[in-house]
Symmetry: C2
Amino acid sequence: MNNCSQHNLTGMMTKFTSACRKADLKVTHQRLEIYRELAQAEDHPAAEMLYKRISKRLPTISLDTVYRTLATFEKHGLISRVPTLESQARFEAKMARHHHVVCSKCGSISDFIWSGFDETHLPAQVADWGKVTRKNIVLVGICAACAR
Amino acid sequence: MNNCSQHNLTGMMTKFTSACRKADLKVTHQRLEIYRELAQAEDHPAAEMLYKRISKRLPTISLDTVYRTLATFEKHGLISRVPTLESQARFEAKMARHHHVVCSKCGSISDFIWSGFDETHLPAQVADWGKVTRKNIVLVGICAACAR
DNA sequence: CATGCTAAAGATAATTATTATCATATCAAG
DNA sequence: CTTGATATGATAATAATTATCTTTAGCATG
């Protein structure tokens, strides 16, 4: 399981650029780097973590830019925020349908797919609540590494 | 749907007290009030919110105590933390199996039950990951109130 | 290819959320 | 009641995120 290696990076970058254009977002050096870093990452990094990684290549970038850019991307549906139990927000660029397992010991997050679930329709009572736009499963447990 | 009124409060309080004793937790005035407030709440309040509510009755309580107490309760399985997309932790005392819908507009969280899902077994690939202890569904959407 | 409008970046600082430290107060066992 | 351990409150520190304001840089246009 664990975060099957993402399609191809260049493909994602091209799509990203055109999505930015369509959304009237300027394609800046920083945005490209932030998106690239997130698209490559397989660990659903927090803003701080992305900042550290990007800083190596782009030492002048500010943490603030990372936060703002992630918020912008999210608003435009280019990336998404992973539901967690911690108080630190975590992100991913992978937009294909999938779900998450989080290790309550080390905090690592992994992906898994479950099309059976995706296709099932929700219980009737949910319809009364409103309009559902996303269905996430969040499993919590102890990963194999932490178990020993 | 929306948070069916919790069993009976006195029953929950009695259970709570004995659970504390069993876990070697002192049954203090503050702990009782924090638990009571959370058990009554139907909105999955954050620590800050609980603090405000409790302060009315117990003006000397400190925010810090609320945080520490919630952490203690959670560690002992007396309450649980709700997975959200925000950076503020939210809690609930209801331990019966249920799932959550969150409104991406107003941030409100509601419960729903789905025993069909609870009974389904997870896809095989998850077993390789480790041992799952909790299965949460987090639906995101726009609640009826926000829709108009 | 130069220019100007506008959105984005960086610096700085403010907020918000949460956690640590330590002296004092309180629970519950004897 | 007294005692010993644990929890609380006060205070302050840290972590996470967001706001403000000036400067910089996309990019559409001439």
